[in-house]
Symmetry: C2
Subunit: 216 residues, 2 copies
DNA sequence: TTATATTTTTAGACAAGCCTAAAAAATTTA
DNA sequence: TAAATTTTTTAGGCTTGTCTAAAAATATAA
């Protein structure tokens, strides 16, 4: 269907589109750890295939077709992550790279059967929504802990940083998906956040609070 | 670890090595549906990496390392085929192309866990042995139906042709792995073979008899 | 054993996807 | 608004893996 490189570009553009409508060449280059000139080459190719809207110097956005392809890649990625954690018992910080490879297996029939086999899960192990076979999924209505008021309580439901070091840290602190927490205090000196979980207090840095999402 | 192309060449060389010790450039080209000149290029590369023994004009054989890599690819292929049939309920004629992609997912940890998840199967859906995590597997001691004497009986245990048209034909005739059959007669005119299965007679062509394997 | 046919390799080219260096366009700053 | 800076594109090159056409080596046949 599409080459590996094309799929990775579409995924990157999709991800960056969530932050800002129009995506710049440099942003894509940074996301994919490649050079701006390489990005320009690929953008022309993707535009030729009608997967993106592209005018020189003006940045890009996905076409409807492009977005469909991107969402499908994300569906495949998240379903394989779910499989790896729920069926093969990998930890949530171990699955990203494997899923990065597996998401390029092309058969949709395979993915739909995998979905069925696992009971049509709606969230991956990091709390991100899994698109269904039509590409529909609930948009996450989550807030970073750093963005809520003191005394708010909520359920840990997602992360912004998917790096294994961050996920390992959360695991160690017991800050995993589903846990109920209350934001007790924000220390003005360095924005450290004091949480309560299972009747115990826990301090997390501003950085961690920025990357940990809760449902209110 | 190795590129997709390298893995496919190693697999092809391994497969051809089972028929004849030394494998020729043209044989590999035919197996991979490519040109002899392309094969020569790749052989030099594989030889540089010490994966094959290669002298110009003399054909090739796998080194120990090369064979290990090849067997590992076959292990991955067959485990994924097993997964697709046993867990996702695909038919045995539908899984080859998918497994062809999946066999290149690189993590060995993933494959070992998949193996465990499925209870360490020893045969794939076509009856081929699945190498264990050390690369060991039972060699198939099977015979083509065309190669056994009249009145022999045995269990259908493998196929030589993995094409979906052949597998679909077998399925339709009920000639699936595990079935007990007796070779009743070989019609001298065209070598048609008359089988008995479940007390019913069944005629198969010489071609089919050549590609259907039984354990005695 | 020489001629013919086949197989294999070499030479040179091409597409995909990447790179560096330089030019062009857009943006920011003064 | 002109100058400086940043961003993006172009130009040209590299690697991988493929191809065709031609040359070289090997195998077969007369």
């Amino acid at each position: 269907m599409h080459t590996l490189a094309e799929e990775n570009y579409l995924k990157a553009i999709y991800k960056l589109s969530l932050i800002a409508e129009n995506v710049s060449t440099n942003q894509i280059a940074a996301e994919l750890a490649t050079k701006a000139s390489s990005v320009t080459d690929m953008l022309r190719k993707l535009a030729d295939k009608l997967l993106i809207n592209y005018t020189r110097y003006q940045g890009v956005s996905l076409t409807q077709t492009g977005e469909k392809v991107a969402v499908n890649i994300i569906r495949r990625h998240r379903l394989w992550e779910y499989f790896l954690v729920e069926k093969l018992h990998f930890k949530w910080d171990e699955v990203h790279e494997m899923a990065e490879e597996m998401e390029h297996i092309s058969s949709n029939e395979l993915i739909d059967r995998l979905d069925e086999f696992m009971g049509f899960p709606t969230r991956d192990p990091h709390g991100d929504p899994i698109p269904d076979c039509n590409g529909n999924f609930k948009t996450n209505d989550l807030k970073a802990i750093s963005a809520v008021d003191v005394n708010t309580c909520g359920i840990i439901s997602g992360v912004r940083d998917h790096s294994s070091s961050f996920l390992q840290y959360l695991e160690k602190q017991g800050l995993t998906i589903g846990k109920k927490i209350t934001i007790k205090e924000i220390i003005t000196y360095d924005n450290t956040v004091v949480l309560q979980m299972n009747n115990k207090d826990l301090q997390i840095s501003r950085d961690v609070a920025n990357n940990l999402l809760i449902a209110l």
